[in-house]
């Protein structure tokens, strides 16, 4: 079959194959060139590069893409001199060759779009490539007749290659699938034969035979169908459980197994190695580091780690961004590195592996690490945090602020990064695909970004919960733990601080969100007998979602919502559950945003949690309740010995002897005013009980202590905040009953000495007990 006989349709098919293969070849060439720069003597790499451009040149000549042929031809000439050892690879040559790869790629995309290699002749590039070839030849070769010599060499090589390309043409037209090797075997020139032996030795022929190209649409469709099958299986399983039919149950069991296997295998077809995106990075890093005047080496581990195609696509931009950041902000210039006792060449390590049904991708650099002072300055400048908070925040929390919108610590805005948009978008994009990003940074030692991703997006494990008789699915990925509060006890443990319900979870305050209230369900406000708290993680903040019941955990197929409903941020989609009903999938982040958990007042509580979680056993810091008295002074109360925070209506307070008391959980809770306790010279205590209808509904905030097993209520005027602070005092005690003074949120705060309460109550309590026994 000759080219003239090809129908137009046939030609298009062949061109398409050519495009696909050339694109793959060019990507490989990018990497090979960068690798070659590090290892200039590697003949195998050179041969690979040469062969790729050679094949492209030959094939495009056959199709009549003359401009493409011209560019690849001069590139090939330069390469052939490199291969023959007549030239040494200089950075300049490498850059020119990489530019050529770009030009070829550009022309290929033009061919794809318009079937023509465009008008651009790349004259400058052709000139550079020719100049490099000729100039360097005189320099290294030292031949006096360089001019004519190169000309004839060019002629000669062209002649040789003309023979060589004949075969690829024919093979190309016949079957492109296994073309790369077969023409090579027939080649007469020794260099090609030698290089091809190596490629044949790698066994790529068998790969070509055992693999076929499949349209992605077909795979997507298959995945959808399997999704449907999973739903149908879930429905049948639910039905079989209700019926006591052993034969049916057996069949269901088989259906269940086969479906699971099929699901896994179909998922496998969509799996791609992460090297598909990573392969672009050596080139990106090379170009970038040259622009920044840095030396950076990229290392990769776990290149073959596979993940779903859709995830690969979605990961491309965030990863590129992180890599660019690492080069631009992370790695220092060579002289700085040397001054700091590091090798001049920086290192970026990409690592990927599977762990616990998830894919972990790490991007580490051995650069300067995150400049925490800059983050602190920037964050306070943007009023993300107060300067007092900034001074108290743990390093990990500070570094994590780079994920906040608008944060950049780059001193100058470059065209690469540092424009203030970035890490927040990276985080948002990752979270959109169910991923999660963490950061470890050590000043002067480097940063590591760790990304956790689900294996696939289409089918996710989820927990079904009920609230007000409606069922919702929560993706397992965002669930940290489940807490069940038993009937009657449900009130216990849930407290209110300034109108915000919180739960004390292992000493930490967890803000709570009532799902029924948040979704404005019918029974909002109704108090259930038993409550379940689903502890969720949104945006590195923890919160508890209160639902009526927790049902089973199941695999769900995420289906998108229609446009009208997409606008509601609390849903991530919908799914069909085992009983055939539709259930909405909750978007944890959207829910937290709707509950305003991620803003203002409540965020500060969350910060406390985040900080203390990081601090762990660190006993240097303690959580403090910051209160303000009538005179506006701030008093901090250590949370340590506090049992609960309570609110009482003023009308419920009673007078018993000299004490003000309130009935509390079947006991009498004596109350004492914090300010009275702290008076230097004790005056007459201020009356706390209601003195008229105006004050009857007023809320009295009481911090309940337990002293010798009996509760004591410490009454404060206002609870301002809860935060963490070092246990070390910053100033001496100002009066009796205080431990000293500290600075919180920029204001001097007295720290209350809880033991003074004990002293105060030791004797009077005896008195009161006698009084209540008598009455």
């Amino acid at each position: 079959m000759t080219s003239e006989e090809n129908s137009l349709e046939g030609m298009e098919e062949v061109i398409l194959e050519f495009l696909v293969e050339s694109a793959e070849g060019l990507d490989q060439m990018d990497n090979d060139l960068v690798a070659l720069e590090a290892e200039p003597g590697n003949q195998e790499l050179l041969a690979n590069i040469f062969r790729t451009i050679h094949t492209i040149k030959g094939t495009c000549g056959f199709f009549g893409f003359s401009r493409l042929e011209k560019v690849s031809h001069v590139g090939e000439n330069l390469l052939s001199r490199l291969r023959d050892g007549e030239l040494a690879l200089t950075p300049e040559i490498a850059t020119a060759l990489l530019n050529m790869v770009d030009a070829v790629r550009e022309m290929l995309s033009k061919i794809e779009a318009s079937n023509s290699d465009g008008e651009e002749a790349y004259a400058a590039l052709v000139e550079t490539l020719t100049r490099l070839k000729d100039q360097e030849a005189t320099a290294t070769g030292g031949d006096a007749d360089a001019g004519p010599e190169t000309d004839s060499a060019k002629e000669g090589s062209e002649g040789a290659e003309a023979a060589a390309v004949q075969n690829p043409r024919q093979d190309g037209a016949r079957s492109k699938g296994n073309a790369p090797e077969s023409p090579a075997e027939k080649r007469s020139d020794s260099e090609s034969a030698a290089s091809d032996d190596k490629s044949a030795g790698r066994g790529s022929l068998s790969v070509a035979e055992s693999a076929i190209r499949v349209d992605v649409d077909v795979l997507d469709n298959l995945m959808n169908l399997v999704g449907e099958l999973v739903l149908a299986r879930n429905q049948i399983l639910a039905y079989s459980l209700a019926r006591q039919d052993p034969v049916f149950a057996n069949a269901c069991q088989r259906l269940n197994l086969i479906t699971s296997e099929l699901q896994q295998d179909v998922m496998k077809t969509r799996m791609q190695p992460i090297s598909n995106i990573w392969n672009k990075f050596p080139r990106v890093v090379r170009d970038l580091s040259r622009t920044c005047g840095k030396q950076v080496r990229v290392e990769m581990e776990g290149k073959d780690t596979e993940l779903d195609k859709s995830l690969i696509e979605a990961m491309k931009d965030p990863l590129t961004h992180l890599i660019r950041n690492a080069v631009d902000h992370g790695i220092e210039p060579p002289d700085t590195r040397l001054a700091n006792g590091k090798p001049a060449e920086g290192r970026i390590l990409l690592n990927a592996y599977h762990a616990g049904g998830q894919v972990i991708i790490e991007i580490s650099d051995d650069g300067a690490g995150i400049d925490l002072d800059a983050v602190r300055k920037k964050a306070t400048g943007m009023s993300l945090i107060t300067s007092a908070q900034a001074s108290q925040m743990h390093e990990g929390d500070l570094a994590r602020l780079i994920f906040a919108p608008g944060m950049t610590t780059s001193k100058k805005v470059t065209n690469i990064s540092g424009r203030g948009v970035g890490m927040d978008v990276v985080r948002a994009n990752l979270e959109k695909i169910g991923g999660f990003i963490e950061l470890d940074s050590v000043r002067g030692r480097g940063s590591t970004f760790r990304i956790q991703l689900p294996l696939t997006l289409a089918i996710v494990p989820a927990l079904l919960v009920c609230s007000a008789d409606e069922r919702f699915a929560i993706p397992q990925g965002s669930i940290l733990e489940l807490i069940r509060l038993h009937p009657g006890n449900s009130e216990k443990g849930i407290e209110t601080i300034q109108g915000v319900p919180v739960f004390r979870l292992r000493g930490k305050l967890l803000p709570l969100v009532y799902l029924n209230a948040e979704l404005e369900l019918d029974d909002a406000g109704r108090q259930a007998d038993a409550m379940n708290i689903v502890v969720l993680q949104a945006d590195q903040k923890k919160f508890g979602l209160i639902v009526d019941t927790v049902e089973d955990s199941t695999e769900i197929v995420v289906k998108p919502l229609s446009n009208v409903l997409k606008a509601i941020p609390v849903y991530a989609g919908a799914t069909i559950t085992g009983n055939g009903k539709v259930a909405l999938i909750l978007d944890v982040l959207g829910l937290a945003q709707r509950a305003r958990l991620l803003s203002e007042h409540q965020e500060r509580f969350l910060d406390v949690n985040a900080t203390s979680a990081v601090l762990g056993e660190d006993d240097e810091r303690q959580p403090l309740i910051i209160t303000s008295g009538k005179d506006g002074g701030r008093i901090a109360i250590p949370v340590e010995s506090v049992v609960r925070l309570e609110e009482f209506k003023r009308a419920t307070l009673e007078q018993a002897g000299t004490r003000t008391v309130v009935q509390y959980r079947g006991k009498v809770l004596p109350l004492v005013n914090l300010t009275d306790l702290l008076q230097e010279r004790r005056r007459k205590p201020r009356p706390m009980t209601s003195d008229g209808p105006d004050t009857a509904d007023e809320i009295v905030h009481a911090i309940v202590y337990s002293i010798d097993g009996n509760p004591i209520g410490l009454v404060v005027d206002r609870i301002l905040d809860i935060l963490e602070h070092s246990k070390n005092m910053q100033g001496p005690p100002t009066r009796k009953g205080t431990l000293g003074t500290i600075v919180t949120q920029g204001q001097v705060t007295e720290v209350f000495d809880a033991t003074s309460l004990q002293r105060e109550f030791a004797a009077p309590r005896q008195r009161k007990r006698a009084a209540s026994a008598g009455g």
């Binding site: 009208v564 606008a567 509601i568 849903y571």
Partner: protein
């Protein structure tokens, strides 16, 4: 002569019609999952053989009085482009052919929302057939309280502008 095939149905005392090529199927009332926080006209979601379909109550959409009789409403499943939306109606009528000469623009006496959603009318012998603009019907205003949230969400998920 130009004719159109129209699927007709009753909502309150209105005879409405949708061109048959926009109707995918007609179904009895199905179990519907409520969508909290959704616009009022959205009754919920239903499972249509594995596909999740949004259900819109035409009475609410057209601001008509609530359905009072016990008969369950019917689903007219419409398809516009890629979107499949079911409209809840009181009763399904016949599929009829109408000719162009009977067509007139929407009558003046229609009030409020109905006026926006009715494309035009056909003067049938016995009564007036109102042609429903399905596209506009399924296009609901987003609840105001979400607009802010939606905007931030969109802002934070724009990879094109920032990841280059």
């Amino acid at each position: 002569m130009d004719t159109r095939q129209v699927c007709t149905f009753l909502v309150d005392d209105l005879l409405l019609g949708v061109e048959t090529n926009q109707v995918r199927e007609v179904l009895r009332f199905q179990e519907i999952t409520r969508v909290p926080l959704a616009p009022a006209a959205v009754t919920g979601l239903m499972n249509l053989r594995g596909e999740i379909v949004t259900v819109i109550d035409l009475r609410t959409r057209l601001e008509l009085p609530r359905r009072e009789d016990d008969r369950p409403p019917m689903n007219v499943v419409t398809r516009i482009g890629d979107a499949t939306v079911s409209l809840l109606v009181d009763e399904i009528g016949d599929v009829i052919e109408v000719t162009k000469d009977l067509y007139e623009p929407a009558p003046e006496h229609l009030s409020g929302v109905a006026r926006e959603l009715i494309q035009g009318t056909y003067k049938l012998e016995e009564r007036l057939l109102l042609m429903l603009d399905v596209e506009k019907t399924v296009e609901l205003d987003k609840p105001a309280s979400f607009t802010a949230g939606v905007q931030t969400a969109q802002k934070s998920t724009l990879p094109e502008t920032s990841l280059q």
